[in-house]
């Protein structure tokens, strides 16, 4: 993580890029399989295609742990597969010819297998986005759904041979494809002709939001990106909001015909995705979305979402994105500014110059960047006081901070991010209150979940420069305690997640502050982190701690300790040669799973 950032490592990365070609071992076989899958049915029978698909899935699944190794090939493979599917879908343009889905289902399933490994968005960007594709694809999706009406559209097909392409995989990819097509930059009226097409698309999307499988996610994001098109926003999004508000109200009241939780999830995901991707001015999107504010407050206050963590996660996303909408985007004037920083410079100071030299140079650097002329500072202060914080923001912040101690990690993470994003827009006084609220989470030493959430929030705040140096003396002792957090519960203990998060906090502190700011705290922090590094029970904590400590040595430079001068990254190569005797590296190289540029080179050297 460190070496990829500085300039002189570009040579290193180039070399690694060359070797990356060799990292996808089954490359040739994969292309052969793709050729079989995309061939027409006359040349390759279905059995052969099934076998090829199974083999391709198996190959790709091997890369689930380190999917970036596929990066060089994702584009080529997805283009070939997409072209094959497109050939089937587009050729039968018009309503007379029916699309024979069995001709393209293998390609679509292979595309799904790829997007499962490398991520939906990484494959999506290689799908076609031409104007003439939009209409046929909507028709195809419609026909695909209609064909499936005989048996349940949303369920896995009756033919449950796992080698066979699954129905939902095709559906998933078609929705993703439509999501890409929503980015076509021409007016809908020109692209689609009449309004009925778009209406049927939205109806189809709404139907799919209740799906129980992964197709819900695909249709929600796709629908969101259609709805946030500027030409559909005013009418269609407004209608969608009205419909969603109805669904959420019904769900909150838990009436007899209340919607399923899956539908609510789909609706919420669509809404939060709209908030994320929409590019229209803040006021417009706020006006469209504000009717939903009340229903969501009621939903949050009822205990309807207590049992579903996915629901709580989307709620937090909603609060943080809506909260951000209520405040104009701005860069907090009061934030801690450190200015330019360079890892290479730090390391050079550590390696060559004496401690005296580094001290004076680092001070000079900080002095110039931190100095804001008194006039500017005065203006900013006045501006700060003028900013009005709506009650909505306070409500949202309340929900988010509460969620920092949620029982599930997937909720605490977005909550921490929400704290960061929202605080960035607040005036300094309110931000101070936010920090107080976060620190309050540390008061109960038994509440491991609150400690975890609070550590994450502190890390997010410091990364954005929102944790001002004058509060560090309060914060650091808590982080030191969190790094060692371990609470005995009956026969075991809890706290590895807190220690892990605290290492992240330490890591982000090391990156965020100038050496002179952090200097008084470094000895105490380092002692704590070294102990976790060496003696933690869990391997992930030891590794997190060592990564954080190395970051600190790199970023905080010689100030950490003069001893590290001789031990810093300059020694990495020779140490690595030592370590490789244990066989770790050999094993890694054969497994091909490690892809840190710097490490990889050393691996090569030590063999």
């Amino acid at each position: 993580m460190a070496s990829s950032e500085d300039g002189d490592a570009s040579a290193t990365t180039q070399k690694v890029a060359l070797s990356a070609e060799n990292l996808f071992v089954e490359q040739e076989e994969a292309y052969e399989l793709v050729a079989i899958i995309t061939a027409s049915t006359s040349t390759s029978p279905v059995d052969r295609k099934d076998a090829a698909l199974t083999r391709l899935r198996r190959i790709l699944d091997k890369y689930l742990e380190c999917p970036t190794l596929l990066d060089q090939n994702v584009g080529n493979i997805s283009t070939v597969l997409m072209e094959a599917a497109k050939h089937v879908i587009i050729r039968s343009d018009g309503d007379a010819n029916r699309i024979e889905f069995q001709h393209c289902s293998h390609s679509l399933s292979a595309l799904y297998a790829l997007s499962k490994v490398r991520g939906r968005k990484n494959v999506q960007k290689f799908l076609s986005h031409e104007v003439e594709d939009v209409e046929p694809l909507i028709c195809a999706l419609q026909q695909f759904v209609n064909d499936g009406k005989d048996h349940d559209v949303l369920a896995i097909p009756i033919n449950n041979n796992p080698d066979h392409p699954q129905r939902w995989e095709s559906l998933y990819m078609l929705w993703n494809w439509l999501g890409t097509l929503s980015l076509v930059p021409f007016d809908c009226k020109i692209v689609l002709g009449d309004a009925s097409m778009i209406a049927s698309l939205i109806k189809l999307g709404k139907d799919h939001l209740a799906a129980t499988g992964p197709t819900r996610e695909a249709s929600a994001t796709s629908l969101a990106s259609w709805l946030s098109r500027p030409d559909l926003e005013t009418v269609e999004l407004a209608k969608f909001v009205e419909w969603s508000s109805d669904i959420i109200k019904k769900y909150t009241h838990g009436s007899f015909q209340s919607p399923t939780v899956f539908l609510v999830l789909g609706v919420m995901q669509t809404l939060v995705t709209v908030l994320k991707v929409s590019s229209s001015p803040r006021e417009i999107i706020l006006r469209l979305m504000s009717p939903l504010w009340e229903p969501f407050i009621l939903l949050a206050e009822s205990n309807a979402c207590d049992s579903n963590q996915l629901l709580r996660k989307y709620m937090i996303k909603w609060w943080s994105r809506m909260g951000c909408l209520y405040m104009p985007p701005r860069v907090a004037s009061w934030r801690y500014q450190r200015g330019r920083r360079s890892l290479a410079e730090n390391l050079q100071q550590t390696g060559t110059s004496t401690s005296k030299g580094t001290d004076s140079s680092s001070q000079g650097q900080d002095g110039t960047t931190q100095k804001i002329s008194s006039n500017d500072a005065h203006c900013d202060k006045i501006m700060d006081e003028l900013i009005d914080v709506p009650d909505h923001v306070e409500d949202a912040m309340g929900f988010i901070i509460e969620a920092l101690s949620d029982s599930s990690t997937t909720v605490r993470w977005p909550a921490a991010k929400g704290v960061g994003r929202l605080t960035e827009r607040l005036p300094a006084v309110c931000a101070d209150d936010v920090l107080d609220a976060v620190l309050e989470l540390f008061t109960n030493p038994e509440a491991d979940q609150a400690w975890h959430g609070a550590c994450l929030a502190l890390a997010e705040l410091s990364r954005r420069g929102l944790l001002l140096p004058n509060r560090l003396s309060e914060v650091i002792p808590l982080v030191v305690r969190a790094i060692q957090y371990d609470i005995r519960r009956e026969q075991s203990s809890v706290g590895s997640h807190v220690r892990d998060a605290a290492c992240y906090t330490y890591w982000s502190f090391a990156r965020a502050y100038a050496p002179s700011v952090l200097k008084p705290f470094v000895p105490r922090l380092s002692e704590s982190i070294i102990l976790t590094c060496l003696f933690d029970r869990e391997v992930n904590c030891r590794r997190a701690a060592s990564a954080a400590f190395q970051e600190c040595v790199g970023r905080q430079g010689a100030d950490v300790s003069h001893k590290f001068v001789c031990l810093s990254l300059a020694v990495l190569s020779s140490q690595f040669l030592d370590v490789s005797h244990t066989g770790h590296l050999l094993e890694l190289q054969t497994r091909n799973i490690h892809f840190d540029p710097c490490r990889l080179l050393f691996t090569g050297k030590s063999q």
Partner: protein, 196 residues
């Protein structure tokens, strides 16, 4: 510090014993590490961690023997008779054993003050007397006591014949419970017998 990196720390045994020794050579971390080991990790809830911590203490003791003698040993002697927590007792007995074994590379009678020698010799009979083998975790304590006996023997801690008899009885009782470490203990007991 690159000795302590992503890969080397992956193995817990290595992290505890060899890498910690490497890091502890830096003066500013030495005390911190020793303190953490004997105050925190010896009382960890996981038995394997307690064993590892005691091994780490064995490795670390030669770095600052005076500190071990002045501070760590008295602390462990007290806590190995802790009436409340079996985990604390177990870890302390193990730590005590390893610290004694480590110091045993020198002539213990010349480096340890007499009151400590007396206390160490008296520990095993005291555990017996306080009936600390009883209850939950008793068997675990017996295993640790066996290790302590072995280490006392290796380090040739001077003992009265009455104490020797007590120790022999303790090991024999453990042996009857089919604890594997007892066999080792008998081997070391024979060493003791020949020497004294």
């Amino acid at each position: 510090m690159t000795h302590a990196d992503y890969f080397s720390l992956g193995n817990r045994n290595e992290a505890f014993t060899s890498i910690s020794l490497y890091v502890a050579r830096f003066a500013e971390y030495q005390r911190v590490i020793i303190n953490h080991i004997y105050q925190v990790k010896l009382h960890h809830w996981d038995e394997t961690i307690r064993v590892l911590a005691s091994k780490a203490l064995y490795e670390l003791s030669p770095l600052d023997p005076q500190y071990i003698i002045d501070v760590v040993l008295p602390f462990l002697l007290r806590s190995s008779l802790d009436p409340n927590d079996v985990i604390v007792r177990h870890g302390s007995i193990l730590g005590l054993a390893e610290a004694i074994a480590s110091l045993g590379h020198h002539a213990v009678e010349s480096i340890l003050p007499t009151h400590l020698l007396k206390d160490i010799a008296e520990t095993v009979p005291a555990i017996e007397k306080k009936r600390l083998y009883r209850g939950r975790g008793g068997e675990m304590i017996r295993g640790a006591v066996c290790r302590l006996i072995s280490c006392i023997c290796i380090s040739k801690i001077p003992m009265l014949s009455k104490q020797q008899v007590k120790i022999f009885e303790a090991a024999a009782a453990t042996c009857a419970m089919r604890n594997t470490s007892a066999d080792n203990t008998f081997f070391f007991l024979s060493v003791l017998r020949y020497d004294s």
